[in-house]
Symmetry: C2
Subunit: 874 residues, 2 copies
């Protein structure tokens, strides 16, 4: 028979997956001999079982709960519902990973009309007993039964008014007795039955409520944000109550072994005498700093400090503790590794190495990679933010803080920035034509699109703050305004974006520049020593490439050449190429692009100082380069010296039902090999040029969207012919390689063949995810919210690699590719290359490098190091 319930003394920290973090730590502390109110944990497996059984706790689990209860009663010498010495418990959730505030807690469980009398006797404090009872009824009604707390607050407030008192504590025991009766009546009114008097019933119902709360919207959201699978479930901890509100020798508090904000090695926290935990949170009384306890009760302070130190040493990490003092006796209610800011995380990790507490390797594991993000972007002043009005919330698409004047077109953005304004570009959605505007804007706000929409991807690449898919906002680009909740914002009005929370503020909010301390560089250096994978960046221009280099990128894993095609005069040549009626005309237009493209590559090579640069050939469907509204088409037609009708007909011919699945990538090079020839000239000639100056660039030419060996073979032949001729004529040697993206499912499935021609693979996990799942990132936003609500998806497959499906394709490609070409270079250049869990996956399947946007390079470096520490590569 499965064991679903464990006494604390049967548990230890190795059982975290089964018992949750809180339960495992309570067990661990029990075995360390610390003063822990005893109890037991109902396992996460019981939670899973509860859901599998259609949200029911079966008899086996119930029996095990009651057995554990009986054993605990024996240990503490109290009895459930006893009218002399009643046993009371708290019931709390505790998942594998801490999810603070996301799920429900019930205190004082076990109270009923008998036990309250017992509690009064036992504590010799009738007022306390009935106060505890009314608190329990409120909490049970609210949390377990969903009867809003306000119903009870009204009764309570009426009593205070009746009695003419201000503070809760001014109510007498009799007042509270009366309130309890009224509360029970209120409960009956809502539930149609009496408040449950059997403590065992109370317990089972409460455990169910905790299980249920695993699936509440708060918890769902938190899980999604933190990449916690629904399947894990939560454990439930049932623990003897101790009371911090039994008078002035009692108290309760929270403490950190180090400062969670700065990382300073100082005891940090706060406490209140004569209070329960909820009072500290409610903020009615102002808690005192924990250091005051040294004066208030030196003995307890010393004991607590010793315990804290012991726990920090034991767990080798900064601890976040909750404690209660009941009549002068200290109890530890829970300990866990404390949440901390990025700065604190770095300082603590480095200090602990200096203190000899942990090794450098352990220090590298202590910092959450994605936390580093906050070190790289400016932030709002927290106080100013507090005061500002949130007008809408979208997706936190690219972190950072942005304040500026609203603007609706790239053109106006440039103009206003030239005039000295800071702007925020607001669009229904962005397209490549908006790039210049995005580059000059402080932030980008879109009404449509997901985490990997054009706006999100480009903004992250630029390190620009972006809130995407704020659906409530209705944008009218033509008339230059947007409306949200009935209010209109015109060009020039100020708004602010928080790219880390997705919040949009309807005003200017003050920002502060984040500090990057020296600890950061130190830890990154350690991390680099432990990495097995290289980290490269996705960069399409010199600015981004330099940024990436500064952040430690060891090459460019993806240069999207099409981004180079939009600037100023060259877009005209691109358009001439598209409307060309013959190969000759097309080559003429391409010849105009050649010197510009060549210069692009020279700049990239120089920025990367000889690190490898992977250049992806033209990828998007050609219609992306042409205008879509009549006025622009007429203008362009005039510009190109062709008739409106002719141009319009070309544009119509290029129209596709599903552009994602259309004429793009390698397919363009098959139809128009002359484009690949021009790009090859530029790549090779630029490399020869910079190598003359002493660099040793070995360009990597990457063909996108290959799904079949012969596609690559055909284009590679054109590339090699062109390149070899140039190299031969140059009379100096130049190494280059030709490889492909693996971004079409069929490419992964036929990788053994494709590796015959491909000298490297780079996983394009954006497209691989889209095609593997069969939904486009542009359209999935509309239905994915239903998927999260209904627990069909735990996480966004565009943010984290779906290891089961898409990851399987990647594994197939890695294994099969190596069958043909043992030492094939394997990388990833999709958005996932900067996501820590995806980086770990890439390490585990044996990739040579990851490539991500410049601002994610440090994150990827750390994640790669952690992956190799956890699972060292042979």
């Amino acid at each position: 028979m499965t064991k679903f319930v464990y006494l604390f003394k049967e548990s230890d920290q190795s059982m975290r997956n089964l018992l949750g973090g809180k339960g495992a730590n309570l067990g661990e502390m029990t075995s360390l001999g610390l003063p822990i109110p005893q109890g037991f944990t109902v396992s996460t497996e019981a939670c899973t079982k509860y859901y599998d059984d259609g949200q029911k706790i079966n008899d086996t689990i119930k029996k095990q709960v009651f057995d554990a209860l009986a054993k605990t009663e024996k240990v503490v010498g109290k009895t459930f519902g006893d009218n002399k010495n009643p046993f009371l418990v708290s019931v709390r959730s505790g998942a594998r990973k801490s999810m603070p505030g996301m799920m429900d807690t019930i205190l004082n469980l076990g109270l009923n009309d008998e036990a309250v009398v017992g509690l009064a006797k036992q504590t010799d404090n009738e007022r306390f007993a009935y106060d505890s009872y009314r608190r329990f009824i409120t909490m049970f009604s609210d949390v377990v039964m969903g009867i809003s707390k306000s119903n009870f607050d009204k009764i309570f407030d009426a009593k205070k008014e009746e009695k003419g008192v201000e503070l809760d504590t001014d109510l007498s025991a009799d007042d509270l007795k009366d309130i309890v009766e009224k509360f029970k009546a209120e409960y009956k009114k809502h539930q149609g039955e009496e408040f449950p008097q059997d403590p065992k019933d109370q317990l089972i119902i409460a455990i169910e409520a905790v299980f249920r709360s695993w699936d509440n919207p708060r918890a769902q959201y938190y899980r999604r944000m933190n990449n916690i699978p629904y399947e894990w479930g939560t454990a439930v901890n049932v623990q003897s109550m101790v009371f911090g509100n039994m008078g002035d020798t009692s108290g309760t508090g929270v403490a950190f072994t180090r400062n969670p904000s700065t990382g300073e090695n100082e005891f940090y926290g706060e406490y209140l005498f004569n209070a329960q935990g909820e009072d500290v949170v409610a903020g009615i009384r102002t808690p005192k700093p924990i250091t005051d306890l040294a004066d208030d009760n030196p003995e307890i302070y010393k004991q607590f400090q010793e315990i804290s130190q012991k726990l920090e040493k034991h767990y080798k990490d900064m601890q976040d503790l909750e404690f209660t003092i009941e009549k002068g006796k200290l109890y530890i209610l829970q300990t866990r590794n404390g949440k901390r800011t990025a700065q604190a995380a770095l300082k603590i990790a480095i200090d602990m190495v200096d203190e000899g507490l942990i090794t450098e390797k352990e220090a590298v594991l202590k910092v959450e990679p994605k936390q580093l993000d906050t070190l790289l972007h400016p932030q709002f002043d927290p106080e100013a933010l507090e005061a500002a009005e949130v007008i809408s919330t979208g997706l936190n698409a690219s972190p950072g803080a942005a304040t500026g004047k609203v603007v609706f077109s790239a053109k106006r953005a440039s103009e206003m920035v030239k005039d000295g304004d800071t702007v925020i570009l607001v669009r229904t959605e962005t397209s490549p034509e908006d790039i210049e505007g995005m580059a000059v804007a402080q932030g980008v706000l879109t009404a449509r699109g997901g985490m990997t929409s054009h706006a999100a991807v480009v903004a992250r690449g630029m390190g620009t703050c972006c809130v995407a898919g704020a659906h409530e906002i209705k944008v009218n680009e033509d008339e230059a305004y947007f409306i949200v909740k009935g209010k209109r914002y015109n060009e020039g009005d100020f708004i602010s974006l928080d790219g880390s929370t997705g919040k949009v503020y309807g005003e200017k909010v003050k920002t502060i520049k984040a500090k990057v301390s020296g600890d950061f560089a130190k830890l990154m250096k350690w991390a680099d020593n432990f990495r097995a994978m290289d980290v490269r960046a996705n960069a399409d221009n010199q600015r981004d490439a330099k940024q990436a280099y500064d952040f430690g990128a060891e090459g460019i894993g993806l240069c999207r050449t099409e981004h180079m095609f939009f600037e100023g005069t060259r877009i005209k040549a691109v358009r001439e190429m598209i409307v060309a009626k013959s190969v000759e005309e097309r080559e003429k237009a391409l010849a105009k692009l050649l010197p510009m493209q060549q210069q692009d590559f020279i700049e990239l090579y120089e920025a990367m100082q000889g690190f490898p640069v992977t250049i992806r050939y033209l990828d998007p469907p050609l219609h992306e380069f042409l205008p879509s509204d009549e006025k622009d088409i007429r203008e362009l037609a005039e510009d190109l010296n062709i008739s409106y009708e002719e141009l319009n007909s070309t544009i119509n011919d290029l129209h596709e039902t599903n552009p994602m699945l259309g004429h793009r990538g390698v397919r363009l090079s098959i139809t128009y090999p002359e484009i690949a020839v021009m790009q090859t000239r530029a790549v090779i000639e630029a490399a020869l040029e910079v190598n003359k100056k002493g660099l040793n660039v070995k360009p990597e030419i990457m063909i996108p969207l290959v799904g079949e060996l012969k596609e690559l073979k055909y284009v590679k032949a054109e590339v090699v012919k062109t390149a070899d001729e140039i190299i031969k004529n140059s009379k100096v040697d130049l190494e280059y390689s030709v490889g492909t993206m693996i971004e079409i499912p069929r490419a992964a499935l036929t990788a053994e063949e494709i590796a015959k021609e491909a000298e490297f693979f780079s996983f394009g996990t954006n497209d691989l995810t889209q095609m593997g799942f069969g939904f486009s990132r542009d359209d999935a936003g509309k239905f994915l919210s239903d998927y999260y609500d209904k627990n069909i998806f735990d996480e966004d497959p565009f943010a984290h690699i779906d290891q089961k499906g898409i990851g399987r394709l990647m594994k197939i490609a890695v294994e099969d590719g190596r069958k043909t070409r043992k030492d094939i270079k394997l990388g990833i250049c999709g958005e996932h290359g900067g996501d820590p869990t995806s980086v770990e996956f890439c390490h585990n399947i044996g990739l040579s490098y990851v490539s991500c946007s410049p601002f994610r390079v440090p994150i990827a470096r750390l994640a790669a190091a952690q992956a190799n520490i956890k699972n060292p590569r042979k």
Copy 2:
């Protein structure tokens, strides 16, 4: 060292892959002791090598060719280029599968200025010798060097004029000598060098030309149509020349052992005395029926007939022979299994069983499944067709012959048909709204779309003739005309479509009804005995279901319920459902659909007489049900009693960038589970209804587009809850099952999980192909022609399952699905289910059934039988 060249006497029919059909058969006939002009075959591997080496024949192959040549010279006692007894050869292609007329042939090779003298001496016929030489120069120049034949014809005709003669044969030896000189000069003029005099050079150049012709456009096209891989390559047969033009005791001809048109067991063919093969083809002289040979030369006739009979018995198939009589001696130049009409194929197969020549099993293998197609559709009168003008050519999307008046909308089509017209619906592309028009039309012509475009799929399903993607045609639906090559066709003008060739004729063409003889039924019965897979049909209404039943379908593998949503009044309820603002409103609209949907299913169940019926739940994106132009939107808004703006905004909200990858399939049921609930009611209540009348229907409910277990789990829970409640209330028992399409790559990759919930899998290979390859069938048409031209694709992956990539996904799903659910039912319902090679693949990977359009059911039955005969299932 690889052996690239084989003497005929070293070869036999088992070596077909290496030596091509012609070469293998020449070897086989040699070993049978038949009178074969000796020679040798250069293997298909040499062809592959030729291409791998950059279109060069390497020295190894050359050496082997010359060795074989020397041996052959010895056998025949002649010498290349000899001025007394010169050796002359023919050089012909010969692929693994016969590709008549697709590649090049060179006769009389070996002639030069010396050898022609030798030939004159040897034959004592100077005229003949120089005539042979001038023919050789023409053929070599044209076929090998690409110098147009017309250059030589001009010289020849000038000579005839100069001499004042009509017939070639009226020219004297001296005239021909003069012509030869002029021909050589003409050759030099074009090539800049002398006509090659070394026969060995001639031979190598000719072999290269044959290899090169493997990749000419004719051959490419033929391969694609006949599913022959480029990789196979062609062999080259070098064979001693024999001459049918050496006077009246010489002749040449072609014969079939049975009538290839009717299948009658009669000797069939024609011959000419004193002629070479090309003369028969050129049609200058009218050949005589082969039976006349019995009078002309009874001895030779008898010998030839005996050989023919021997070969038919030997190959157990009707033979197509070429022969030459040289000075009274019979030579067999080639034999092969003869091409035949579908009727003939059936008759021959059945007759041969009756004659005891082959078994029933062998007979089943003799008929090409796709040939049956022609037996099921009306055909044009061949003579009328010959005379008609082809105005454009599109894809042969759905076979059949159609003649009718041009019409541009479904509405007008219905009206005109009511008035007694026959019509052809012409659209840029079709959409579900056109279905009614397609149903009443004789044929459908579209300017856009591929073999699996909406028009093509629906037309094939209906058995309606369709030519799709005729790009030259510009359709203006609004003004009801189309223009092709400058000519305008208005509503009411006649055109004709040949759905088997893709040709469009600008006039009325007479049709004849094809005869389906009793042989057809007989062979199908035999086939059914050998099958391991069931064959079902894709049918969405009673008409199609009945048709399918008549064609032998054993169930419905796919009922696309959305097709039921377009008819008359129900489209209004569908639209009400889509614009509903709440679940209640939506349920109200669904309640209107319920009785209609229920009636649909009753009709289907009844048509299938208790065979299983698989019902796929609503699949397409909802915007497909809404109008797109302003006028229609205004009308609908009025109809639905909402404002134009509101409806327009709903339509805009439903807009998707890539609808193929959008909100459709199971995703609809997740957002709107009430749709699945309504469909479940209809499925189950209809089944209960018909079972009352004595049928035993077990509905199979199929959820489309699943990519993740939890999607299916969620929807299945709704389905099961609804179904079980209805069944419980009905108080009778009803079995039903719930399964899923496997059409998303991730579904295949996670099949082991999905099989936990899915009771059956049905492969939706259309979508699986689209997503696996990453191109949509609507858009791929634009670039796939480049893919064929450049030999990147040999065949259309929407017509034949891509076994390497998409097939691998299918195999993964089959194997992994069975791990979870050992006896999971596995089928296919994509378009591929009716394609013989795909059916064979499905058999080989172990599917339980294939499902295809009704008109392909007999084809699938035969293909399934052949697959099981070739690879019997345990």
